[in-house]
């Protein structure tokens, strides 16, 4: 009997560890979330002077120790404590939801995107603050937002009229996708870079019919999937964005009346062999997502895929220290002696043109516990302003790369380069102390790229950015968006390829409104 009891005890002990792992302790979960001490209060108990402690979660490819040199540097600068935690970007939403659900909320929440930040405010996980507070504690960030314009301020505000995130501009996306023409083809067909759709159409037909690559085989096309964006744009209906209709109300571009004209043109291009029949599968055929295989491997002569950062030109290569990257690299592998040129957004019959939609980048939002603590949050905004290079762009070099002379040096071309044995993340640099975008810092971090960009887009005709009217997903988009989009995607392909007549477009529009588009449109105009 004694043995049996011992046996039973042994069993219970053994199983306790294992079984509950699968089974969990549901009962305790309700309270443990509330018990957890919000990190904002930790600092308050220590000493007379408040020394704040900030928990920051970033997407990092490594681990940052509490005593990493740059963490200690910033701690000393601001007399605060930091804990920097990394999170795996590919599963960031799942992992962060888990943390929020368990009450484990960091002070600085990053990389979840505008819509999630907005939701977090609704759920009272993230907090808001007033414009005055921002102007008082981070006047330089406020000045940056003033520079971006009232749209930026509006984008940063929640429905309660207070700020909840900080918009910034990513210089890579400032001017939309680059418009690229292959020089040797233009030369072969005796044309200049066209500026209007009418002129471009003449060139398109020559690209398809006049054998611009001179191999005697009719194997060239003018454009493919991404090039089509210029056709849509020229008709004033950039694909799948909300635009202002004639009556001033928002309408989804893909069901706007002008779309029918764009589709008419594209269907004609397809029938005449101008549009690459492989447009359906896209111009990228695997590998890095921004590579344009269709263009760089000589199938098409005009493209509108990816931003200028992926299309450094052969001219750029002439500046010392510049390297061929992404598309230029692939293009030169195939055509070592050739070049491509930057074009202009094609102007349509009514003068419309398009290169992209203004997109702000939203890096971070902040726990309600922190924004409710004016002292702590005010201090944070000061830190943000400094590390983000809003006061002096040079500060951002310290944030991104560490200390000059210890972690990085300028090379002979004036470009800052990390020392070989330095891992920026491990020392507490990299993204650790970046909380928002500021396109001006590119001038110090990547001076060659910034110079290239500034020179290219000093010609203001090279871009035509459209406003972004709908920043957060509409309330019903989860219910209807996918189905509505599928209708458009499939319908447009069948119209362009001639499988369905052009009048099928009217049917698509009718159906689109019927299956949820009407609700979305009403919400967009609300």
């Amino acid at each position: 009997m004694k043995n049996q009891k011992l046996l039973a005890l042994a069993l219970v002990l053994t199983m306790a560890a294992g079984i509950f792992g699968g089974c969990g302790s549901g009962g305790g979960s309700g309270t443990s979330g509330e018990e957890s001490v919000p990190s904002s209060q930790e600092g308050k108990n220590s000493g007379e002077e408040e020394r704040y402690h900030y928990v920051i979660v970033q997407h990092l490819n490594g681990t940052v120790d509490e005593d990493a040199p740059m963490v200690e540097y910033w701690e000393e600068q601001f007399d605060v404590d930091f804990t920097i935690e990394g999170v795996e970007q590919s599963k960031i939403h799942e992992l962060m939801s888990l943390r929020f659900a368990s009450g484990d909320i960091p002070d600085v929440i990053t990389n979840l995107g505008y819509a999630t930040f907005y939701d977090l405010v609704n759920q009272k996980i993230a907090g808001t603050w007033t414009e005055e507070f921002m102007r008082e504690h981070a006047p330089d960030i406020a000045a940056y937002l003033d520079e971006l314009g009232p749209d930026a301020w509006a984008a940063a505000k929640h429905e309660n009229g207070e700020l909840f995130t900080t918009p910034g501009i990513n210089p890579s996306y400032m001017y939309g996708n680059a418009i690229i023409w292959r020089d040797s083809w233009l030369e072969a067909v005796g044309e200049e870079i066209p500026r209007t759709l009418a002129d471009a159409e003449r060139v398109f037909y020559k690209f398809a019919n006049d054998d611009p690559d001179g191999n005697g085989v009719k194997d060239t096309y003018a454009l493919s999937q991404d090039g089509m964006n210029q056709v849509y744009g020229a008709y004033g209906v950039p694909l799948n964005v909300w635009i202002k209709g004639d009556d001033g109300k928002l309408v989804y571009s893909s069901v706007a009346p002008a779309m029918k004209e764009a589709l008419t043109t594209l269907a004609r291009y397809y029938a005449d062999g101008v549009l690459d029949p492989e447009f359906i599968t896209g111009q990228n055929k695997g590998d890095y997502a921004h590579l344009d295989h269709a263009f760089c491997q000589g199938r098409i002569g005009f493209t509108n895929k990816a931003t200028h950062g992926h299309w450094f030109s052969t001219d750029y290569l002439k500046s010392p220290g510049a390297q061929a990257k992404v598309n230029l690299e692939l293009f030169l592998q195939n055509y070592p002696d050739e070049t491509f040129s930057y074009g202009y957004p094609l102007e349509g019959p009514d003068g419309d043109k398009y290169s992209g939609v203004t997109s702000y980048a939203f890096w971070s939002c902040y726990s309600k516990a922190m924004t409710d603590d004016a002292g702590k949050f005010g201090k944070f905004l000061e830190i943000f302003q400094k590390t983000g290079g809003f006061t002096d762009t040079k500060d951002y070099l310290t944030t991104l790369m560490g200390m000059e002379g210890t972690h990085w040096d300028y090379d002979e071309n004036g470009v800052p380069q990390s020392r070989e044995d330095v891992d920026p993340v491990a020392i507490g640099a990299g993204n650790c102390f970046t909380f928002g975008n500021n396109h001006h810092v590119e001038e110090v971090t990547k001076p060659l790229v910034a110079k290239f960009r500034n020179e290219l887009y000093s010609d203001t005709d090279r871009y035509a950015m459209w406003p972004n009217y709908i920043l957060a997903p509409l309330p019903s988009s989860a219910d209807y968006q996918a189905e509505c989009q599928k209708l458009i995607d499939e319908g447009f392909i069948s119209i362009i390829t001639g499988e369905k007549p052009l009048d099928y477009f009217d049917e698509i529009v009718e159906q689109w409104y019927a299956i949820g588009g009407q609700t979305l449109t009403d919400e967009a105009n609300a």
């Binding site: 053994t14 792992g21 935690e85």
Partner: protein, 303 residues
């Protein structure tokens, strides 16, 4: 006998054209089927030995266009891979060993009819096969135990699996009681009988379960992703996933590119990486596969 052989041969020869055609079709289809499984593996292997360059979904080649070991060199030089290997091996060895001991001990107790409330405890165990507490409660519980960011979290929560426990228990139950009685006559207690008599004769089932556990530990990554924050404690599979999806569209966030260069890894290095990290388990599989099937027979569920 001779006659029968003759007859056999005759039937073989006299196969109708129809059935022969059927056989040919059969072999053809099965060969094709095998190829659909083998070709991706082969292509990946070829890619991993191919010289750096761009590759598109349309490219396909059965032999490296230009042979190189550079891809593997790039992988071997990546410190994260070695760190991941270390962590994975540690959890596999320690996890399998501890799991096996605990599961076998629990199974031994549950296999005894004299064990008090045996039915209840058996039900208690089997219950967890059908219901789990869900991710969030488990996370809270792990956090409250202070196991976050602790390597033990990769081993302890799954220490005793119900299915394995039932398998081993059934195996113990089939053992003739006389075996143990002989030991008890010699004065052995429960523990001694378990270690000296029961365990040695249970090697087949223990080997099978150990194998399952080891494979499970080798492939596991989700628990590590959720509970471990220090990247130095990441297991190999997370490192692998990170390398493979780098530069694909889902992974490109608009904010991020301000600070990062456009530096996607070539497909060849990804391929080499996949081979390098899956090779150990890939090699072991064909030799161990028979145990997977056998294990289910030896411990098959009975009451």
């Amino acid at each position: 006998m001779v006659l029968r052989q003759k007859k056999d041969r005759r039937t073989h020869i006299r196969k109708s054209p129809g059935s022969r055609a059927f056989d040919i079709c059969n072999y053809l289809m099965l060969t094709l089927f095998c190829l659909t499984i083998l070709l991706p593996f082969w292509y990946l292997l070829v890619l991993s030995f191919d010289k750096f360059g761009n590759v598109t979904a349309q490219d396909f080649f059965l032999w490296p266009r230009e042979f190189t070991l550079d891809n593997y060199k790039a992988v071997v030089e990546n410190p994260y891979i070695w760190q991941g290997y270390g962590n994975t091996i540690l959890r596999t060895v320690a996890g399998t060993f501890l799991s096996l001991i605990c599961t076998a001990m629990a199974a031994y107790a549950l296999s005894k009819d004299s064990f008090p409330n045996r039915k209840f405890w058996s039900f208690f165990v089997v219950f967890t096969m059908f219901f789990s507490g869900g991710l969030i409660p488990t996370y809270l519980w792990i956090r409250d135990l202070g196991l976050l960011d602790n390597r033990l979290v990769l081993i302890l929560p799954g220490l005793v699996g119900a299915y394995n426990l039932v398998l081993i228990r059934n195996f113990f139950k089939q053992m003739p009681p006389e075996l143990e009685e002989s030991a008890r006559i010699d004065g052995a207690g429960d523990f001694r009988a378990f270690v000296s008599i029961v365990l040695p004769v249970s090697k087949p089932i223990l080997a099978t379960v150990a194998l399952w556990l080891a494979v499970g530990h080798w492939n596991a990554w989700f628990d590590c992703l959720v509970y471990i924050r220090d990247t130095r404690k990441y297991v190999l599979q997370i490192i692998l996933q990170r390398i493979v999806i780098e530069g694909t569209i889902q992974n490109i966030s608009t904010t991020e590119q301000m600070t990062q260069e456009f530096n996607a890894r070539p497909e060849m290095v990804k391929a080499a990486c996949i081979y390098f990290t899956t090779l150990p388990i890939l090699c072991a599989y064909p030799f161990l596969q028979k145990y997977f099937v056998k294990g289910i027979y030896v411990g098959s569920l009975k009451g």
